[in-house]
């Protein structure tokens, strides 16, 4: 077995410098790498390009990096719910590239799986298609989309072992799985780091080969964005 365990979040982020392109997992605040984000704030690296489906909220998730103006560019599919984001974007401090969510996910997976480019129908005929090659397949127009290139990917799983194997819970799998192995270095943080041999090899969502470093997060707030409830009868 190849050990991926590092002893601290500081070790896990060793090598991260200003100007890098980072991938960050999660959908909304669900499954975001909370401890890696906190460490990015502490490191105070800036001029970052962040590939992440969303941009957090004002005081949580990527919003924490936006507050400190560490991010120069966001590559996302949906960036609402964040007043500071809006201010920086409208003032021109922050560049934003909006990408259809499925294209965003598949461009991560393509990077992970060594597929340099693929065709998708999403965005054809819209401004997303500007400057992109299009081509008909089965009588339907498609756009050529390319794999992302990134320096680090930060992902968060429920359980993991020292071999880097990961298991997610519920809808927190989202972009965390396709971002594993999609950057030069993939850093996985887990709620629980279990001994090797504990995870059933049949139930592993992300094999350890896609993960370069793994650590157990010190704590997780796991904030809920929209607490919607059913009334008991």
């Amino acid at each position: 077995m190849i050990t991926k365990r590092v002893n601290s979040v500081a070790d896990a982020l060793s090598g991260v410098t200003s100007g890098m392109t980072l991938m960050l997992g999660g959908f909304g605040l669900c499954g975001i790498p909370e401890n890696a984000i906190a460490e990015l704030v502490r490191l105070n690296v800036n001029q970052l390009t962040c590939i992440s489906n969303n941009a957090g909220v004002d005081d949580f998730g990527l919003g924490l990096l936006l507050q400190k103006k560490q991010i120069d560019k966001m590559i996302s599919s949906y960036v609402g719910e964040n007043a500071e984001f809006e201010r920086q974007m409208l003032s021109g401090e922050l560049a934003v590239e909006l990408i259809p969510q499925g294209t965003l996910a598949e461009r991560c997976r393509a990077a992970q799986m060594g597929i340099p480019a693929f065709y998708t129908p999403a965005g054809y005929g819209t401004e997303v298609a500007d400057g992109k090659e299009s081509r008909d397949f089965n009588g339907k127009p498609h756009l050529l989309e390319h794999a992302f290139k990134a320096d680090f990917s930060f992902i968060k799983a429920w359980k993991g072992d020292e071999a880097g194997n990961l298991i997610f819970k519920g809808t927190a799998r989202n972009f965390n799985a396709p971002m594993a192995g999609a950057a030069r270095i993939c850093v996985a943080e887990v709620e629980e780091l279990v001994p090797v041999g504990t995870l059933d090899p049949n139930t592993v969502h992300v094999p350890g080969i896609f993960v370069q470093r793994i650590f157990q997060g010190e704590q997780y707030e796991k904030r809920i964005e929209q607490r919607t409830l059913s009334q008991r009868a």
Binding site: Q101, G102, T103, E106, T171
Partner: protein
């Protein structure tokens, strides 16, 4: 002239949901559709952030930060549910395994073009999964008000706002009418209760095809 409220629109759209359908519901009125689907048919709801077999909101104390829908709302999983990653989720959508997509719109053109993600000059929040959904789904129903707050038609000859997708909308249910997009334009299928054909004609800017008899919706 008011016609249906949001629940009424959702109730009418629910009639389009057939036995065996996998359905993706957008944020807003579409989310309400789940409440009106007949109980005697088999339907599963997909949420593009990674769940198939989505259930109702949880009871207090049972909410789970790791179990949300695409609107970031806490939800539950029904028996037979499955979780998956975003790449697989949009594979289901792109591969046309999802049978029906119901979403909102700012504008729809009479060729089926849809605009629902961007108002130039205003804050842009992003298209989320909407472009993938409308480019891929075979069956797309739009749920929206017939006119905007200024009273202007949202059913146009051509969208004025940046497009989300091209020639993709199949059906539209508004507070005033149920319409189908056909080659010649919007075919008026049904009137909302208490709404006249004349009111619908007056509120529609795109090419409207009005059959001799336009029945009132059965809700």
């Amino acid at each position: 002239m008011i016609g249906l409220d949001k629940n009424g629109i959702a109730q009418r759209i629910a009639q389009e949901v057939q036995n065996g359908y996998y359905v993706n519901l957008g944020i807003g009125i579409p989310t309400l559709v789940a409440n009106f689907v007949r109980k005697n048919i088999e339907v599963e709801f997909q949420s593009e952030n990674g769940i198939l077999g989505m259930g109702p909101f949880p009871f207090e104390g049972e909410e789970d930060a790791d179990l949300i829908n695409a609107g970031k709302q806490t939800i539950t999983a029904l028996k037979g549910a499955s979780f998956f990653d975003s790449s697989t989720s949009f594979g289901m959508i792109r591969g046309q395994h999802v049978d029906l997509t119901i979403l909102g719109a700012m504008e729809v053109a009479d060729n089926g073009d849809i605009a629902n993600w961007k108002i130039p000059g205003k804050m842009v929040k992003g298209m989320g999964g909407a472009m993938d959904l409308v480019a891929s789904a075979e069956n797309i129903i739009v749920a929206m008000m017939h006119t905007n707050r200024a009273g202007e038609s949202k059913l146009l000859q051509a969208c004025s706002l940046p497009l989300t997708g091209v020639a993709c909308v199949k059906k539209i249910v508004t507070n005033l009418a149920c319409l189908e997009v056909v080659k010649e334009g919007f075919l008026l299928l049904e009137r909302a209760p208490g709404i006249s054909v004349e009111e619908i004609v007056a509120a529609t800017k795109g090419n409207l095809i009005v059959p001799k008899h336009v029945p009132e919706m059965m809700l």
